[in-house]
Structures are given as C-alpha cells and as structure tokens.
Symmetry: C2
Subunit: 476 residues, 2 copies
C-alpha cells in the first residue's frame, strides 16, 4: 500500500522546495550570468511591503518574522532535491556548476526587519534582504507566504481584540484554517494580535500559548441525557465550560441549575447571543450561580462583537474561529517583494552611467519598477516614526543612510536581525511580542483604530531625498 | 541563540497535537466514563458534511481524503506530548490510565468516504468515521481542517477551469496562500479541480504536478536593459516565458521583436489584459512570431477569465494566484463533523427505550442535534446518485443499509477506505483524481455550472425511511 502523503507535515527537510519554480529558473540564469560577468560580488537589495491593505484595515500588524528567519538560516538543497530539479526538461541545458552551487547553497545575506507586532502602513518595508542576488531571489516565495499570512491574521486579531474592549478573545479556528499548519500559524498570529489563548493544542505545546476548550455537541449527544454529559464532564474538569446549545440553550441552563452542577462557565454557540446571554445571566444569577461565566462563539467577528459589547451583553469572553483564522472578509495580505537596489563591490567600476548613483560612494544602482499601478521607490529604506504626545504623528520613509529626523521623538523601525547569515539577537518571546503590539496600538491615533472604512490614509511620507531620486531616476 | 520555530514544518511527529484542545479533555471524560460503564465496545459514527456552500457555489469538490487517511493511520501520541498534556493544570485530576491509553492510542476505526474529485451538495456526507468514540472524536479537528481546505480550493479551481472553457489554468498562489503548507495543499487541490499545473516546486517534487514558471520583475530589473534580461533568460531556457510588464508591456514586445528573441511565450501581469493581449498578438504576428504564446496573470478570477474568454481575448493560458489559493471571495468551507449514531456491541442490552432503534438489530442509537439552524439527520448514511442520460438527476441520502433505488442508473457515492484501521485499497494517483473530477463535472446539469448565484438548489432528498425516522426520533 503506497501513500504519497508524507509531505503533508514534511519536516524542515524539504522547505527549500517550498518555492515558486521561477525562483529556480531565475537562479540558474543569474548563475550563468554571474559566471560570465563576474557579477557575483554584487549584492541585491529586496524589500517586502504591502501596497494596499485588506478591506477596511487602516494598519497592518507585522508577524511571521521568526519563521522567516528560521527558514533563512535552515534551508538547504538536498541531493534528492537537486536530482529532481535536474530531471526536469527545462533544466536540460543548465550547466552542472549550477547544481554544484545549489548543493553548497546557504543564505549568507543581511536582514533588516520591523519587530513582530509592529504596526505598519501601506508601502512601508516589513523586511529588507541584502544578499547575492540568487540568494535574495530564491527565498522570496517562502518569506512572502509566511509573513503575508501571519500579518494578515495578526491584523485581523488586533481588530477583533479592539472591538471587544478588554473582554478576552480566544482563537478557535483550527478546523476552518487552511490546513493544519495554517491553524498553528493562525494561533500564533492571533496571540500576537492580542488574543488571550487558542484551542490549537500544538500552539500550546510548541509556543506556550494558553490553551482553552469547552466541549463538542457530540460529547453531549453521546450521553443518554444532556445533564449526564454535563455532570460527567464537570466532575472531571470543574474548571471546564459546558456547551449548552445542543438541543435548547435555556433548557440546558435550567438542567444545570436543577442538577446543582457548579460549572465555571457555559458556552453559547448558536441563536441570538445577546438575547441568550441576558436570559442565561438572569437564570444563573437567580439560582445563585453568579460566578458562572458566559462565553459566546459561533461565526463571530469584530463587527458582531462590537455590537454585543456596545449593548452590554453579559458575555465574559468570546471564541472566534472561522472569521479570525481565515480573515474571512478579506483573506489575502498582498505583500510583494521587490528589487530596490544593487550594491556593487567596492572595486567594481560602475559601467552604467545612466543610473542615478549614490553620491557618497557611487556604488549603488537604484532600481524601480514602472508597471501601471505597481510603481516602486528605489533604494534600501528605513522608516522613521515620529511620535508626539505618545501618539504617532507621521512616518517618514527615508533612505537607510539618511540621518534621523531631528527635533522630534523619532524611532527607526527596521532593525538588523541577520548579519551575513548570522542571527544577531535572541528572538523575543511570544508574550513579549504581544506586549509590544499592545504598546504599538496605544500609539495609534484613535481614528485609525476604527473598524469601518477609514477614508483618511495614515500620513506616510517619503523623505525629500527619496522623492528627488524618484523624479530623476530612469527605470533602465 | 534560541529559535522556537522548528515547529513550522514539523514532521509527522507532532500531528497528533494538531487538534483542538477540547478533543483531549473530552477524550479524558469519555475514557473515565468508559471505565465506569464498560461502554468501550460501543462505536460512535460521525459524519462530515457542509451545511452551506461558499458564496455563489452550487456544488463542492471533495478533496483532502488522502491526507486525512494518512493522518488516521499515522498519528500517535509520543511521550513528550503526553507529558505536556499531563502538565496542564486542567488535567490534574485525570487518572493515569488515561495517559496510558494515549500512549497506546491508534486509530482502529472504519472510514467511508466519497472519492476525491467527487462533486457534492450541501448536507451530503463527505466522510463517515465509525470508531470507539474517543478515536472518532480525537481526529475531528485535523480531518476537518484538511478536507475543508482542500475541498474549498478544489471547488474554486473547478469554477475557474470551467470559466476558461478549455484554456489551461496554472495555479500561481503560493506567496498569498496561508503559509507554506497551505501553498502545497492548494497546489494539490487546484490540480484536482482541473488546473494544468502549479508554480509550487514542492508540489512538483512530491506529487508530480507539472511545474510552470516565468520570471519575476526583479530578474528584469537586475539587468541594465530589459532586452539583456530577456536574451539571457531565453538563451538558457528557450521554452521559458518572458515577463513583459516591468516597465511597459508593449515597448517590451517591440524590444523582443527588434532583438530577434524567439521566445516560446510572454506573460502579461498588469494593465488591461484584453487590450494588451490583442495588441501583443498583433505585434507578434506581424513580426512572424505567431507561435509565441500569451499568458495572462494578475489578480484574475473566474469572472474576469469568463469575460476575457467570452470576448475572445487572444490569451493562450492563465496564471491564477491569490484568488485561487485563498478562495478569496469566500475563504472558508464550513464542513462540520457530527455524531449521527452509536452502535452498541452485539451483547449489550439496549437500556434506552426512548431511542428510535434500528428495526433490524436493535443495536443502533440514532443521534440528532436540534440547535437553531444546525439540525442534523441521524444514522450512518449513503448517497445514491441517480443518473439519467449522462446527467445527474438527483441525489438520495439514505441510511447505509437501505437498498439501492431500483429502476434507475444509480451509483452509491461513499466507498470504504479504511477497515478497522487498515487501508483497503491503493489510493488513486493525482491524475486519476483529476480525470474523475472532470467526468463528474460532465454529469452536472449545465445550470449548476453557472458561476453566479444559482437560485435553485440541486435536488438532494432524504429517503423515506430517513424522513420517517427524523419525524419520530427524540433528540435525547
């Protein structure tokens, strides 16, 4: 019996092939071109940024860097990968030296990025990679899928957490996430965005995220009577929650009271959560169960939670599944990864007079793209965040070597995480990332926390030097 | 330097914990209850089905079974998993016997399912699992996330392929998929739904799906002149495609012609694909490059492709990314997994007079749920598909032991794949699954292939016996 499925949870062993195929054909073409022109010491600089945020979002929460760094330091091509690539017809004319190169391949570049949990706006670089061009190119797809997805979910979580105004949110979406790995990554990103916990056991095991769970309808149905199921569960797990909507939520509450089951909490999962929570609270309080907490779940999102909170529904916390773990109202973060410059080796003469070259050393070729609606700004960039009275006033995107904007409380957002392939610092814990995100949210002007469409765009400007360069540069 | 990220692509080693935490607390409660009541030989029967399809879909394409079966046969709890579970405060009163049970845990159940590639409608079972209740319960989350996601993407792909009316579709969405594993699974599901290939290299390596790729804008930008990039790439990969929109698509075509580059194809990735494809075709033909093919990409979906095909745009094939790999217009398949019956061991007396018991053997307790909007039908079911003149006329959902509907060409859709934990048959290849799906699409009445909202629901009826049972059964 043959099962071809051992790839589903394939180990780190195969991550090198988690890539768009064109990265490999381009690598081969770069490689040949390097050999012919000795361009090998040139470094390419790529930046990832998001042109347009998902629907109604006015900021994004950066997440996924830790996994991106992990990939950059661990990915290797194994012999079996190389044999596979060689076996493909399109590679038939590719020189053996390229396959030797793949065998030795190791990411040796330098990485700047904003810390996970940072709040960013459109066009601001999330990560900047400087490396020999094959290395910088070949890692594109993995970096994008990892950071796009986690940033998407952290952003959604941040909105849902804000809507709940301090009432805890638990991420419950594993069964609707885009596969088991997406479920795990969604749990991580949700926690970064401010959720209190997750139902995903692997996220507890691997990351220490607090686990939470109640019971399924099937548990209730497997007993002859609903109250038997409640008693059985409660006697083993007195801190557990009872799910009351298998048959009739209010009738179930009456059974709990009549059977004198002292449960820590109950979960509502269908029907009108406002009406039911009010009735359940009344019944429980009347019976002296005022400590029993009420959790609500069932296709909740930031808008429904805002409404319930604004109406003072007596719900103590919320379980959010599908809407969070798929970012259902807009499930794609459109991050792109663009070449912004090529740094020539110190000894190499610039043979490219037409280019706008860096005044300081004449060694950087600035790159822009001019496709309709897809223009890019050139050069390695830094974001300077100007903060006044504990509120972000504006962000200035400048060239990396521009001085800090003076006369302001100004924070450069991108930090160096990898230096020539070496990790520079201990990555923060998931709790530190969550706290950092929370601080970031507090710096945001209130109007940009609105859940609905914000007509105003957050003020992000380019430095004068960058704008001047953009006016003068020729694309090629 | 500590990196906590080795979980991202964790091997099969940890899939047992890819589960909602409540599956484990319920397992402990079931386990204790089993010990006290000797219910261990009872088998629970669960079915997965979808109540409501994603927006505008009038059918779903089942996918993900192979990975579900893989999980069922491979998942085990390791000592470190069990130590983790034991360490959690909520488990402090749980008997050691439960942890011993987890150590021995192995799925021993029987699985019926529709073959991958099948077309199904709301409420029809995709998979049915019969096993001791802990086993059937504990596998819920993984089965749901795997089958929900792949079915979501196979369904989306089937629509996009239909819209293209025979023009090939390549799946290009890895960078926007929900993480690297979702990218791989999306490539698989897209191929099942009828796509011709993928850009995901791992899907080529692991599954043999044809790989396709062109080049990135960065490749073009890394050369001093666009035509140098084209020449370099074309000389190494004469069958490769050139991306022409880095600066100006039509100008790039003129450069290709002037430089006498005989490329197999070009890719348009921005601007108006109708206008550009017409102009590009005209320019290429005029220059004698009538064999050069045109590919279009850039936020395409089934509606845009339908429009381009209906207007006879001279596009030879389409690359579809974000819209396909995230099922962007509706990114969740809401499959649920519900207890439908409990089968008692032959020797066990039924102590449950109130239940509607099976007339034949008196050994099945039928289970239903009555939550508002979430009713379920009881019993282990089979789908009988009635086909007339090579078109599906209707589906009848019946109890598993009901006879075939006579006087019709009638096909039972669910087949047995696992028997007491053992795989019964060789799983079909991905090409066989794709062909099977294609046959299934051909059986569908044309109006249900419409991409827009179909006001009519496909005729799925319950057998008389099932309807009679539903009227008589008491939920508890």
């Amino acid at each position: 019996m043959l099962l071809a499925s051992d790839y589903v949870d394939n180990g780190v062993a195969d991550i090198a092939l988690s890539t768009d195929f064109y990265e490999l054909t381009m690598a081969a073409a770069y490689h040949r071109s390097d050999f012919e022109t000795k361009r090998r010491k040139k470094k390419a600089i790529f930046e990832m940024f998001v042109r347009k945020l998902p629907r109604n979002r006015s900021y994004l929460v950066a997440a996924g860097l830790e996994q991106a760094i992990y990939f950059l330091t661990k990915m290797r091509f194994k012999d079996k990968h190389i044999s596979y690539i060689k076996s493909l017809k399109i590679f038939k004319d590719v020189d053996q030296n390229f396959f030797q190169y793949l065998k030795r391949f190791k990411f040796t570049g330098t990485v700047w990025a904003v810390p996970e949990g940072s709040i960013l706006f459109p066009n601001e670089p999330i990560i900047r990679i400087e490396a020999p061009i094959i290395e910088a190119q070949i890692v594109e797809t993995y970096i994008l899928s990892m950071i796009n997805f986690q940033s998407l979910i952290a952003t959604k979580a941040s909105r849902i957490v804000a809507a709940a105004k301090g009432k805890p949110i638990i991420e419950f979406g594993s069964r609707r996430a885009h596969g088991p790995q997406a479920a795990l990554l969604a749990a991580r990103a949700s926690y970064i965005g401010g959720c209190m916990g997750t139902s995903n056991t692997l996220a507890g095991y691997k990351l220490g995220i607090p686990l939470f769970g109640t019971m399924a309808h099937s548990f209730v149905m497997s007993f002859d009577k609903e109250e038997e199921a409640f008693k059985e569960f409660n006697s083993l797990f007195p801190s557990g929650y009872l799910l009351v909507d298998t048959y009739d939520s209010l009738a179930a509450i009456k059974k709990i009271i009549d059977a004198r089951i002292h449960t820590s909490g109950i979960r509502l999962d269908s029907g009108d959560p406002y009406y039911l929570s009010v009735e359940v609270r009344r019944l429980l309080n009347y019976a002296g169960h005022s400590n029993t907490r009420i959790m609500a779940s069932g296709d909740l999102n930031e808008y429904l939670i805002r409404d319930l909170v604004n109406r003072d529904a007596p719900i103590d916390f919320f379980g959010v599944g599908t809407e969070l773990s798929t970012s259902r109202d807009d499930p794609a973060m459109n991050g792109v990864y663009k070449l912004v410059a090529i740094r020539l080796p110190a000894s190499s003469p610039s043979n490219c007079k037409k280019k706008y070259n860096d005044n300081l050393n004449g060694k950087v070729l600035y790159k822009i793209k001019t496709s309709p609606g897809k223009k890019t700004y050139p050069g390695a960039k830094q974001i300077h965040r100007i903060i006044e009275n504990n509120i972000i006033k504006e962000d200035v995107i400048a060239l990396e070597d521009e001085k800090k904007i003076s006369g302001h409380m100004c924070v450069p957002l991108l930090r160096k995480f990898l230096d020539n392939g070496k990790i520079l610092c201990k990555m923060p814990s998931i709790d530190e990332i969550q706290r950092y995100h929370c601080q970031q949210v507090n710096l945001l002007p209130p109007k940009f926390k609105d859940l609905d469409f914000v007509p105003e765009v957050f003020p992000v400007i380019y430095s004068e030097k960058l704008e001047a360069m953009m006016r003068q540069i020729k694309p090629e």
